[in-house]
Symmetry: C2
Subunit: 200 residues, 2 copies
Protein backbone atom coordinates (compact mmCIF):
# COMPACT_ATOMS: atom_id res chain seq x y z
CA UNK A 1 0.00 0.00 0.00
CA UNK A 2 1.35 3.37 -0.94
CA UNK A 3 2.25 6.20 1.40
CA UNK A 4 -1.08 7.94 0.93
CA UNK A 5 -2.72 5.07 2.82
CA UNK A 6 -3.24 5.27 6.55
CA UNK A 7 -0.26 3.68 8.31
CA UNK A 8 -2.30 1.39 10.62
CA UNK A 9 -4.02 0.01 7.51
CA UNK A 10 -0.70 -0.61 5.80
CA UNK A 11 0.59 -2.41 8.88
CA UNK A 12 -2.55 -4.56 9.12
CA UNK A 13 -2.34 -5.46 5.43
CA UNK A 14 1.27 -6.54 5.95
CA UNK A 15 0.22 -8.77 8.86
CA UNK A 16 -2.42 -10.44 6.70
CA UNK A 17 0.06 -10.81 3.84
CA UNK A 18 2.46 -12.62 6.18
CA UNK A 19 -0.07 -15.46 6.53
CA UNK A 20 0.32 -18.41 4.17
CA UNK A 21 -1.72 -18.25 0.97
CA UNK A 22 -2.63 -14.57 1.29
CA UNK A 23 -1.06 -12.22 -1.26
CA UNK A 24 -0.65 -8.46 -0.91
CA UNK A 25 -3.83 -7.70 -2.86
CA UNK A 26 -6.01 -10.01 -0.76
CA UNK A 27 -4.31 -8.65 2.36
CA UNK A 28 -5.30 -5.10 1.42
CA UNK A 29 -8.86 -6.23 0.77
CA UNK A 30 -8.95 -7.91 4.19
CA UNK A 31 -7.56 -4.80 5.88
CA UNK A 32 -10.28 -2.69 4.27
CA UNK A 33 -12.83 -5.27 5.37
CA UNK A 34 -11.67 -4.92 8.98
CA UNK A 35 -12.41 -1.20 8.70
CA UNK A 36 -16.02 -2.05 7.83
CA UNK A 37 -16.44 -4.41 10.80
CA UNK A 38 -17.84 -3.00 14.00
CA UNK A 39 -15.43 -2.31 16.83
CA UNK A 40 -16.64 -5.18 19.02
CA UNK A 41 -16.05 -7.74 16.25
CA UNK A 42 -12.54 -6.43 15.63
CA UNK A 43 -11.73 -6.67 19.34
CA UNK A 44 -13.11 -10.22 19.44
CA UNK A 45 -10.93 -11.13 16.47
CA UNK A 46 -7.84 -9.68 18.17
CA UNK A 47 -8.71 -11.54 21.38
CA UNK A 48 -9.23 -14.79 19.45
CA UNK A 49 -5.70 -14.50 18.04
CA UNK A 50 -4.21 -14.01 21.49
CA UNK A 51 -6.34 -16.72 23.10
CA UNK A 52 -5.45 -19.27 20.44
CA UNK A 53 -1.77 -18.61 20.99
CA UNK A 54 -1.85 -18.38 24.80
CA UNK A 55 -4.46 -20.94 25.83
CA UNK A 56 -3.74 -23.70 23.36
CA UNK A 57 -0.90 -26.08 24.08
CA UNK A 58 0.13 -29.61 23.23
CA UNK A 59 -1.66 -32.51 24.92
CA UNK A 60 0.78 -34.10 27.39
CA UNK A 61 -0.11 -37.50 25.93
CA UNK A 62 -0.66 -37.32 22.16
CA UNK A 63 0.84 -33.83 21.50
CA UNK A 64 -2.25 -32.69 19.61
CA UNK A 65 -3.29 -29.08 20.20
CA UNK A 66 -5.72 -28.61 23.07
CA UNK A 67 -6.60 -26.12 25.77
CA UNK A 68 -6.53 -28.87 28.42
CA UNK A 69 -3.64 -30.77 30.00
CA UNK A 70 -4.87 -33.97 28.31
CA UNK A 71 -6.94 -33.66 25.13
CA UNK A 72 -10.55 -34.94 24.85
CA UNK A 73 -9.48 -37.87 22.67
CA UNK A 74 -6.76 -39.07 25.05
CA UNK A 75 -9.07 -38.72 28.05
CA UNK A 76 -11.96 -40.53 26.32
CA UNK A 77 -12.45 -43.93 28.03
CA UNK A 78 -14.59 -45.15 25.12
CA UNK A 79 -11.70 -45.05 22.69
CA UNK A 80 -9.30 -47.87 22.03
CA UNK A 81 -6.01 -46.84 23.63
CA UNK A 82 -4.20 -49.92 22.29
CA UNK A 83 -4.11 -48.46 18.76
CA UNK A 84 -2.13 -45.28 18.06
CA UNK A 85 -2.40 -43.51 14.74
CA UNK A 86 0.78 -41.48 14.14
CA UNK A 87 0.28 -38.34 12.07
CA UNK A 88 2.33 -35.35 10.97
CA UNK A 89 0.10 -32.53 12.22
CA UNK A 90 -3.10 -31.66 14.11
CA UNK A 91 -4.84 -31.12 10.74
CA UNK A 92 -4.46 -34.85 10.07
CA UNK A 93 -6.25 -35.70 13.33
CA UNK A 94 -9.16 -33.57 12.13
CA UNK A 95 -9.14 -35.44 8.79
CA UNK A 96 -9.32 -38.84 10.50
CA UNK A 97 -11.99 -37.70 12.97
CA UNK A 98 -14.11 -36.59 10.03
CA UNK A 99 -14.28 -40.18 8.77
CA UNK A 100 -16.10 -41.17 12.01
CA UNK A 101 -14.55 -44.61 11.53
CA UNK A 102 -11.44 -44.52 13.66
CA UNK A 103 -11.82 -45.26 17.35
CA UNK A 104 -8.19 -45.48 18.43
CA UNK A 105 -6.01 -42.64 19.67
CA UNK A 106 -3.43 -40.44 17.94
CA UNK A 107 0.11 -39.22 18.22
CA UNK A 108 1.08 -35.98 16.50
CA UNK A 109 4.73 -35.76 15.42
CA UNK A 110 4.57 -32.03 14.56
CA UNK A 111 6.62 -32.45 11.42
CA UNK A 112 8.33 -34.99 9.20
CA UNK A 113 11.96 -35.97 8.95
CA UNK A 114 13.63 -33.92 6.26
CA UNK A 115 17.42 -33.77 6.06
CA UNK A 116 17.09 -31.11 3.34
CA UNK A 117 15.31 -28.78 5.77
CA UNK A 118 17.48 -29.85 8.72
CA UNK A 119 14.57 -31.59 10.47
CA UNK A 120 16.14 -34.33 12.57
CA UNK A 121 14.37 -37.02 14.69
CA UNK A 122 14.93 -35.10 17.95
CA UNK A 123 12.83 -32.21 16.55
CA UNK A 124 9.76 -34.44 16.21
CA UNK A 125 7.66 -35.81 19.10
CA UNK A 126 9.16 -39.28 18.66
CA UNK A 127 10.53 -39.71 22.17
CA UNK A 128 7.08 -38.85 23.55
CA UNK A 129 5.66 -41.66 21.39
CA UNK A 130 8.28 -44.08 22.73
CA UNK A 131 7.48 -42.99 26.29
CA UNK A 132 3.77 -43.68 25.73
CA UNK A 133 4.53 -47.12 24.36
CA UNK A 134 6.92 -47.87 27.22
CA UNK A 135 3.98 -47.52 29.62
CA UNK A 136 2.50 -50.62 27.98
CA UNK A 137 -0.94 -51.50 26.59
CA UNK A 138 -0.20 -50.45 23.01
CA UNK A 139 -0.71 -53.20 20.42
CA UNK A 140 -0.64 -51.44 17.10
CA UNK A 141 0.88 -48.25 15.74
CA UNK A 142 -0.53 -47.03 12.41
CA UNK A 143 1.93 -44.85 10.52
CA UNK A 144 -0.38 -42.33 8.86
CA UNK A 145 2.10 -39.83 7.49
CA UNK A 146 1.63 -38.55 3.93
CA UNK A 147 2.73 -40.72 1.01
CA UNK A 148 5.61 -38.38 0.20
CA UNK A 149 9.37 -38.89 0.40
CA UNK A 150 9.46 -37.29 3.86
CA UNK A 151 6.30 -39.06 5.02
CA UNK A 152 7.58 -42.45 3.92
CA UNK A 153 11.02 -41.85 5.43
CA UNK A 154 9.50 -40.79 8.76
CA UNK A 155 7.17 -43.80 8.78
CA UNK A 156 10.11 -46.09 8.08
CA UNK A 157 12.26 -44.47 10.76
CA UNK A 158 9.60 -44.76 13.46
CA UNK A 159 8.68 -48.30 12.38
CA UNK A 160 12.31 -49.37 12.77
CA UNK A 161 12.34 -47.97 16.31
CA UNK A 162 9.11 -49.74 17.27
CA UNK A 163 9.52 -53.18 15.73
CA UNK A 164 12.18 -54.35 18.26
CA UNK A 165 9.63 -53.53 21.00
CA UNK A 166 7.27 -56.18 19.59
CA UNK A 167 4.68 -53.62 18.50
CA UNK A 168 2.66 -54.25 15.35
CA UNK A 169 3.41 -51.35 13.01
CA UNK A 170 1.16 -50.74 10.00
CA UNK A 171 1.06 -48.16 7.20
CA UNK A 172 -1.99 -46.61 5.56
CA UNK A 173 -3.00 -48.30 2.29
CA UNK A 174 -2.15 -46.43 -0.87
CA UNK A 175 -4.12 -46.86 -4.07
CA UNK A 176 -6.65 -45.17 -6.28
CA UNK A 177 -8.77 -42.57 -4.52
CA UNK A 178 -12.44 -43.57 -4.33
CA UNK A 179 -14.29 -42.00 -7.24
CA UNK A 180 -10.98 -41.39 -9.00
CA UNK A 181 -10.46 -42.05 -12.69
CA UNK A 182 -7.77 -44.56 -13.56
CA UNK A 183 -6.75 -42.65 -16.66
CA UNK A 184 -5.80 -39.61 -14.59
CA UNK A 185 -4.01 -41.44 -11.77
CA UNK A 186 -0.27 -40.79 -11.62
CA UNK A 187 2.10 -43.69 -12.29
CA UNK A 188 3.23 -44.16 -8.69
CA UNK A 189 -0.34 -44.30 -7.36
CA UNK A 190 -1.33 -46.75 -10.07
CA UNK A 191 1.70 -48.89 -9.36
CA UNK A 192 0.89 -48.92 -5.64
CA UNK A 193 -2.75 -49.79 -6.39
CA UNK A 194 -1.62 -52.68 -8.56
CA UNK A 195 0.94 -53.88 -6.04
CA UNK A 196 -1.54 -53.79 -3.16
CA UNK A 197 -4.40 -55.41 -5.11
CA UNK A 198 -6.91 -57.40 -3.06
CA UNK A 199 -8.75 -60.68 -3.77
CA UNK A 200 -12.39 -60.15 -4.75
CA UNK B 1 -13.53 -27.96 13.25
CA UNK B 2 -14.86 -30.84 15.29
CA UNK B 3 -15.28 -30.96 19.04
CA UNK B 4 -11.93 -32.69 19.57
CA UNK B 5 -10.25 -29.45 18.53
CA UNK B 6 -9.18 -26.90 21.09
CA UNK B 7 -11.96 -24.33 21.48
CA UNK B 8 -9.76 -21.21 21.08
CA UNK B 9 -8.53 -22.64 17.77
CA UNK B 10 -12.11 -23.28 16.60
CA UNK B 11 -13.06 -19.72 17.53
CA UNK B 12 -10.04 -18.27 15.71
CA UNK B 13 -10.79 -20.33 12.61
CA UNK B 14 -14.36 -19.00 12.65
CA UNK B 15 -13.05 -15.44 12.82
CA UNK B 16 -10.83 -16.02 9.81
CA UNK B 17 -13.69 -17.71 7.96
CA UNK B 18 -15.87 -14.63 8.52
CA UNK B 19 -13.47 -12.59 6.36
CA UNK B 20 -14.35 -12.27 2.67
CA UNK B 21 -12.76 -14.84 0.37
CA UNK B 22 -11.58 -17.18 3.15
CA UNK B 23 -13.34 -20.54 3.34
CA UNK B 24 -13.48 -22.82 6.38
CA UNK B 25 -10.55 -24.95 5.21
CA UNK B 26 -8.25 -21.97 4.63
CA UNK B 27 -9.44 -20.53 7.94
CA UNK B 28 -8.38 -23.69 9.78
CA UNK B 29 -5.01 -23.59 8.06
CA UNK B 30 -4.56 -19.96 9.10
CA UNK B 31 -5.54 -20.78 12.70
CA UNK B 32 -2.91 -23.53 12.80
CA UNK B 33 -0.41 -21.12 11.31
CA UNK B 34 -1.06 -18.66 14.13
CA UNK B 35 -0.13 -21.45 16.57
CA UNK B 36 3.25 -21.72 14.90
CA UNK B 37 3.94 -17.97 15.10
CA UNK B 38 5.82 -16.65 18.09
CA UNK B 39 3.85 -14.92 20.82
CA UNK B 40 5.17 -11.44 20.03
CA UNK B 41 4.09 -11.68 16.39
CA UNK B 42 0.60 -12.82 17.38
CA UNK B 43 0.27 -9.90 19.81
CA UNK B 44 1.45 -7.49 17.09
CA UNK B 45 -1.15 -8.91 14.73
CA UNK B 46 -3.90 -8.47 17.32
CA UNK B 47 -2.74 -4.93 18.01
CA UNK B 48 -2.66 -4.13 14.28
CA UNK B 49 -6.32 -5.16 14.02
CA UNK B 50 -7.31 -2.89 16.90
CA UNK B 51 -5.13 0.01 15.70
CA UNK B 52 -6.54 -0.15 12.18
CA UNK B 53 -10.08 0.00 13.52
CA UNK B 54 -9.47 2.62 16.22
CA UNK B 55 -6.91 4.97 14.70
CA UNK B 56 -8.11 5.07 11.13
CA UNK B 57 -10.99 7.38 10.25
CA UNK B 58 -12.31 9.21 7.23
CA UNK B 59 -10.52 12.32 6.01
CA UNK B 60 -12.69 15.32 6.84
CA UNK B 61 -12.21 16.54 3.27
CA UNK B 62 -12.15 13.63 0.80
CA UNK B 63 -13.52 10.87 3.10
CA UNK B 64 -10.63 8.54 2.24
CA UNK B 65 -9.31 6.46 5.14
CA UNK B 66 -6.49 8.08 7.08
CA UNK B 67 -5.12 8.32 10.60
CA UNK B 68 -5.02 12.13 10.39
CA UNK B 69 -7.79 14.73 10.42
CA UNK B 70 -6.99 15.60 6.80
CA UNK B 71 -5.32 12.96 4.62
CA UNK B 72 -1.87 13.43 3.01
CA UNK B 73 -3.40 13.89 -0.44
CA UNK B 74 -5.86 16.60 0.64
CA UNK B 75 -3.15 18.42 2.59
CA UNK B 76 -0.64 18.22 -0.27
CA UNK B 77 -0.15 21.74 -1.68
CA UNK B 78 1.53 20.32 -4.79
CA UNK B 79 -1.66 18.67 -5.96
CA UNK B 80 -4.28 20.27 -8.14
CA UNK B 81 -7.27 20.92 -5.87
CA UNK B 82 -9.41 22.12 -8.75
CA UNK B 83 -9.89 18.57 -10.06
CA UNK B 84 -11.74 16.00 -7.95
CA UNK B 85 -11.80 12.34 -8.93
CA UNK B 86 -14.90 10.72 -7.41
CA UNK B 87 -14.48 7.02 -6.57
CA UNK B 88 -16.46 4.31 -4.86
CA UNK B 89 -13.93 3.16 -2.27
CA UNK B 90 -10.45 3.77 -0.80
CA UNK B 91 -9.15 0.84 -2.90
CA UNK B 92 -9.84 2.91 -6.00
CA UNK B 93 -7.70 5.77 -4.69
CA UNK B 94 -4.85 3.29 -4.34
CA UNK B 95 -5.43 2.12 -7.92
CA UNK B 96 -5.23 5.68 -9.29
CA UNK B 97 -2.20 6.54 -7.16
CA UNK B 98 -0.41 3.53 -8.62
CA UNK B 99 -0.64 5.06 -12.09
CA UNK B 100 1.51 7.99 -10.88
CA UNK B 101 -0.28 10.08 -13.50
CA UNK B 102 -3.09 11.74 -11.58
CA UNK B 103 -2.26 14.93 -9.71
CA UNK B 104 -5.72 16.06 -8.67
CA UNK B 105 -7.51 15.15 -5.46
CA UNK B 106 -10.16 12.54 -4.67
CA UNK B 107 -13.56 12.10 -3.12
CA UNK B 108 -14.55 8.70 -1.78
CA UNK B 109 -18.29 7.96 -1.86
CA UNK B 110 -18.01 4.78 0.26
CA UNK B 111 -20.49 2.91 -1.87
CA UNK B 112 -22.62 3.11 -4.98
CA UNK B 113 -26.32 3.80 -5.38
CA UNK B 114 -28.21 0.54 -5.44
CA UNK B 115 -31.97 0.54 -4.95
CA UNK B 116 -31.83 -3.29 -4.88
CA UNK B 117 -29.60 -3.20 -1.78
CA UNK B 118 -31.43 -0.20 -0.30
CA UNK B 119 -28.41 2.09 -0.80
CA UNK B 120 -29.86 5.58 -1.18
CA UNK B 121 -28.00 8.85 -1.96
CA UNK B 122 -27.99 9.94 1.71
CA UNK B 123 -25.93 6.84 2.60
CA UNK B 124 -23.08 7.93 0.32
CA UNK B 125 -20.70 10.86 0.96
CA UNK B 126 -22.46 12.98 -1.67
CA UNK B 127 -23.37 15.91 0.56
CA UNK B 128 -19.73 16.13 1.66
CA UNK B 129 -18.80 16.39 -2.03
CA UNK B 130 -21.35 19.15 -2.56
CA UNK B 131 -20.02 20.97 0.51
CA UNK B 132 -16.47 20.83 -0.87
CA UNK B 133 -17.61 22.22 -4.19
CA UNK B 134 -19.67 24.94 -2.49
CA UNK B 135 -16.41 26.28 -1.02
CA UNK B 136 -15.34 27.12 -4.57
CA UNK B 137 -12.19 26.54 -6.60
CA UNK B 138 -13.32 23.24 -8.15
CA UNK B 139 -13.31 23.23 -11.94
CA UNK B 140 -13.71 19.58 -12.87
CA UNK B 141 -15.20 16.48 -11.25
CA UNK B 142 -14.18 13.18 -12.81
CA UNK B 143 -16.72 10.43 -12.14
CA UNK B 144 -14.50 7.37 -11.74
CA UNK B 145 -16.99 4.80 -10.49
CA UNK B 146 -16.92 1.32 -12.00
CA UNK B 147 -18.52 0.73 -15.42
CA UNK B 148 -21.34 -1.30 -13.86
CA UNK B 149 -25.06 -0.59 -13.59
CA UNK B 150 -24.61 0.84 -10.08
CA UNK B 151 -21.42 2.70 -11.03
CA UNK B 152 -23.04 4.30 -14.07
CA UNK B 153 -26.21 5.18 -12.15
CA UNK B 154 -24.19 6.80 -9.36
CA UNK B 155 -22.08 8.76 -11.85
CA UNK B 156 -25.22 9.96 -13.60
CA UNK B 157 -26.90 10.93 -10.32
CA UNK B 158 -23.92 12.95 -9.08
CA UNK B 159 -23.38 14.53 -12.51
CA UNK B 160 -26.98 15.75 -12.55
CA UNK B 161 -26.45 17.37 -9.14
CA UNK B 162 -23.24 19.10 -10.23
CA UNK B 163 -24.09 20.33 -13.70
CA UNK B 164 -26.43 23.11 -12.50
CA UNK B 165 -23.50 24.41 -10.42
CA UNK B 166 -21.54 25.05 -13.60
CA UNK B 167 -18.93 22.40 -12.81
CA UNK B 168 -17.38 20.41 -15.67
CA UNK B 169 -18.26 16.77 -15.01
CA UNK B 170 -16.40 14.03 -16.89
CA UNK B 171 -16.51 10.24 -16.90
CA UNK B 172 -13.62 7.81 -17.29
CA UNK B 173 -13.17 6.51 -20.83
CA UNK B 174 -14.31 2.97 -21.49
CA UNK B 175 -12.84 0.81 -24.21
CA UNK B 176 -10.51 -2.08 -24.83
CA UNK B 177 -8.05 -2.70 -22.01
CA UNK B 178 -4.46 -2.07 -23.07
CA UNK B 179 -2.90 -5.35 -24.15
CA UNK B 180 -6.35 -6.90 -24.46
CA UNK B 181 -7.37 -9.08 -27.36
CA UNK B 182 -10.29 -7.86 -29.45
CA UNK B 183 -11.59 -11.38 -30.00
CA UNK B 184 -12.08 -11.89 -26.26
CA UNK B 185 -13.63 -8.51 -25.45
CA UNK B 186 -17.28 -8.64 -24.37
CA UNK B 187 -19.88 -7.02 -26.62
CA UNK B 188 -20.56 -4.01 -24.41
CA UNK B 189 -16.87 -3.14 -24.08
CA UNK B 190 -16.38 -3.51 -27.81
CA UNK B 191 -19.42 -1.35 -28.49
CA UNK B 192 -18.14 1.34 -26.14
CA UNK B 193 -14.69 1.17 -27.74
CA UNK B 194 -16.27 1.65 -31.17
CA UNK B 195 -18.56 4.44 -30.02
CA UNK B 196 -15.74 6.35 -28.33
CA UNK B 197 -13.24 5.86 -31.14
CA UNK B 198 -10.63 8.60 -31.55
CA UNK B 199 -9.12 10.26 -34.60
CA UNK B 200 -5.62 8.98 -35.40
Amino acid sequence: MAEHNALPLVILAEKFASLPGIGMKSAQRLAYHVMSMNEKDVEDFAQALIDAKKKVRQCSCCQNLTEREVCPICSDEQRDHSVICVVESPKDVTAFERTNEYNGVYHVLHGLLSPMDNVTPDMLRIKELLARIAKGGVEEVIMATNPTVEGDATAMYVANLLKPLGIKVTRLAFGLPVGGILEYADEVTLYRALENRNAM
